[in-house]
Amino acid sequence: MTSPLNHLPSAKEVGTYDPDTLASNFSDLHPPLTHRQAMIESQRCLYCFDAPCVEACPSEIDIPSFIRQISENNINGAAETILEANILGGSCARVCPTEILCERSCVRNHDAECQPVLIGLLQRHATDHMQFEGHPFKRAASTGRHVAVVGAGPAGLSCAHRLAMLGHQVSIFEAEQKPGGLNEYGIARYKMTDDFARKEVEFLLDIGGIDIQYGQRLGDNLELATLHKQYDSVFLGLGLGASRALGLTGEDAPGLMPAVDYIKTLRQTDDLGSLAVAKRCIVIGAGNTAIDMATQMARLGASEVTLVYRRGVEAMSATDHEQEIAKANGVRMITWAQPDDILLDSQGRVAGMRFAKTREQAGQLTATGETFEIAADAIFKAIGQGFDSASLSDATAAELARDGERIQVDDMLHTSLPNVYAGGDCVKPGQDLTVQAVQHGKLAAHAIHQALAAKQEAA
């Protein structure tokens, strides 16, 4: 997938880092807590009543309880508390922006201490060190119902696991060749080390009653109409499959590609040295993907990485913490500038980009008329993901009510079609957070279960 960069040298050829350094550049960004550190940190938790951190957790993990269990050295108990609310608690511990969720609301942020309990790292400690004989959750007696789940990302996996727990049979249809969704393909490599995404899915599937069929893409070799007919219920956890376009000429020039495509390759490679590296590169965007892209390119050995955003720092969706990571890796950040023209060399390859300076006027972003150029060997666009409209092209899928481009759902994650539910990034209330996708999947599973049970009673 890095073919647009085939003309660029590899990390090994660029030679900024020797193989060992390269490997350590992509090891754990935040090393896990030692047992002792976890014991000390867990003692800092005040065991709040109606704790603000729980209210801030999209997946409603009982944080004070699991931390108390850690402090009593009851690691399996802590892990079970986490996993019963969030079966992907291990990956959420790694990728959650805790600084704007649980840790931001920790009461220890107040006054003199100004330092929250390290909830994310404690959650990781519990899920890293749990040791169960078999799967911690048992399946209810079989209901004889069979549910189709589209997408083996966090939303789909969470939904499938909960459905299996409730006694249903689940078939997952996944477009890629591996499960995990963004955990497997989209998150920065140093946030998800040691093949954790795969191991976590393996653990999740241990509950039984779930099968996954790979290479099954809705709108390509899979139709919602068929699933709707063949299964008792359908859950759509499609994600946002399409990278947005800049809308400039030369967008298909060698040297320009979506950041998510590069990260996907980076996540899958066994040989970091073989990855194409742009010594000078530009990343366009202001989200966590832009930060991940810029930071990883710097860690691969690029000497000049510039992140450009059309608005001010305060409007960036990447958290302060993420921005600090980028800065610490030498990423230069330019704000109030938008892409104006892709500059090409004589062979038609990316040579840089011209930017138009912007400002906000009466709430509207406008170009000031001033421009500037940045020379670069590659441009990575991380300006957001859009809905892959092809996925909902069959006759039944086309009937789904939409809210903007995303799928419209009610509070129960129910779409406008009977027996069809959806969750995660593909639905309107989505916040593009793994933890929220997990919650959607879990809630949808309960909604599906209730609906199926009601049907049973009526029959």
Partner: protein, 447 residues
């Protein structure tokens, strides 16, 4: 092994010196005739087992030492695996337990070392702890030997709760007031210097032991000895700690956890009309200057420390002296005596408390971190007198329902923020009324 003292690195003004004046305050004590440059003594225990340790303690600045208990020949034999602890969550030692016996070194060596140390350190208190069988001959034999060392006094170990009682000594004597009196009497008869009787807390009324000691002629009492204890069980092997082979036994409990028990017992004796002036050496969980000041305020004339030194080394005495002297200077106390027993008049029986006193909780909303601990504690286990409110912006607000609050202090205790919850005495307009005189008391005393 090194037994001779190294050169004392003592000079005026040095923190670990034996100077009685620290930060301009005189810390010296004259405890039942035993003089020491400060009230901080090491209790009879492993840290005072031999000259090497005792000299290090004096070098560090301790005002006195009670030498680990001497006994009859042949010396006691100890087991391997002797201590265990009751831990807090962060591995801080809350309580400490030991099954060690009295000295396992020969009487001759101990006496020789005591003689030398006293000679080298004349300004420091050196008291010898003794435990021999309950017959006059045994005491008549050992006391002249101890007297000959030049030590300042003796402390009778009538409280050791483990091992020795099985041999009819230690707590077996201390739990019998008649024996306390008798042994004390023998000691006064065969020894000319001050006799301190160390009391065991493993009884129902500590005053009985103190009164018996006084009847026997004791110059002072010291308390508490350790409390019978089992600190923890190894749940894999179903055996208590410390584990000796595959077994265990109860030990003696000490350390911070016993301080409240010890302080009550000290106060009981200090306010007992039968022992109003009996000097008390306070022992039990003293680990900082504040603990020492509290014991002294309740009637202690000196304090003895063991566990805190065993966990941290002798250097802790520096902070104890420094902190105590600074506090005394701040309060205008120019000697230990000046605040000794100061808290006793205010320590009384329940029946004398003012039944009309009323205090209620007040929450400082600026300091509140909204953890909800006060709310759930009051709601679940007390008087439902804290309301949980939600502000428009979603922040929580906890308010005391004053009519419901009985002033129990629980919310203040569970609040993690210092000074966030204060208990505020209320103006009730009602006179002082003790339960003795309360009309609601069916057994009231007419006032």
């Amino acid at each position: 092994m090194k037994t001779s003292p190294s050169t004392p690195l003592s000079f005026p003004g040095k923190k670990n010196s034996g100077d009685s004046v620290v930060n301009g305050v005189d810390l010296s004590v004259n405890f039942a005739g035993i003089k020491a440059p400060n009230p901080f003594w090491l209790a009879s225990a492993p840290p005072t087992d031999k000259a090497y340790n005792v000299v290090r303690a004096y070098e560090a600045g301790w005002g006195g030492v009670v030498w680990k208990t001497l006994g009859e020949e042949p010396p006691a034999v100890n087991v391997s695996s002797r201590y265990s602890a009751h831990y807090g969550k962060n591995r801080e030692v809350i309580g400490f337990n030991n099954i060690e016996l009295i000295t396992d070194r020969s009487l001759e060596i101990n006496l020789k070392e005591i003689t030398q140390v006293k000679k080298d350190w004349p300004d420091r208190a050196l008291i010898v702890s003794i435990m021999v069988p309950c017959n006059e001959e045994a005491w008549a034999y050992i006391l002249p030997l101890v007297e000959a060392t030049g030590a300042d006094g003796i402390e009778l170990n009538l409280g050791c709760p483990h091992g020795m009682p099985e041999r009819g000594m230690g707590a077996a004597v201390g739990q019998n007031p008649d024996l306390i009196e008798k042994v004390t009497y023998w000691c006064k008869k065969h020894y000319s210097k001050p006799v301190i009787v160390k009391l065991t807390p493993n009884i129902t009324d500590i005053r009985v032991g103190a009164q018996a000691a006084l009847r026997g002629g004791a110059d002072a009492v010291s308390l508490i000895n350790t409390i019978n204890s089992i600190t923890s069980i190894d749940l894999d092997n179903m055996v208590a700690k410390p584990t000796v082979g595959h077994q265990s036994t109860h030990g003696g409990y000490c350390g911070s956890a016993v301080k409240p028990i010890a302080m009550n017992m000290v106060a009981e004796i200090a306010r007992d009309p039968a022992t109003p002036t009996l000097p008390i050496s306070g022992i039990g969980g003293i680990s900082c200057w504040r603990d020492a000041a509290e014991f002294i305020a309740l009637g202690a004339g000196s304090v003895q420390v063991c566990t805190a030194a065993m966990l941290n080394g002798f250097r802790i005495v520096e902070e104890m002296k420094d902190g105590l002297s600074r506090w005394m200077a701040e309060k205008g106390y120019d000697s230990i005596e000046a605040f000794s027993r100061k808290a006793i008049p205010q320590t009384t029986d329940w029946k004398h408390l003012d039944i009309n006193f009323k205090t209620i909780a007040q929450i400082d909303q600026d300091l509140c971190i909204e953890c909800g601990r006060c709310y759930i504690a009051c709601e679940d286990t007390s008087h439902q007198s804290i309301a949980k409110l939600t502000e428009q912006d979603g922040t929580r607000r906890y308010e005391v329902i004053e009519e419901e609050c009985v002033g129990c202090n629980l919310c203040q205790i569970t609040c993690p923020v210092e000074n966030c919850i204060t208990m505020v005495p209320q103006e009730t307009g009602q006179p002082f009324l003790a339960w003795d005189n309360d009309p609601r008391n069916p057994f009231r005393v007419a006032s």
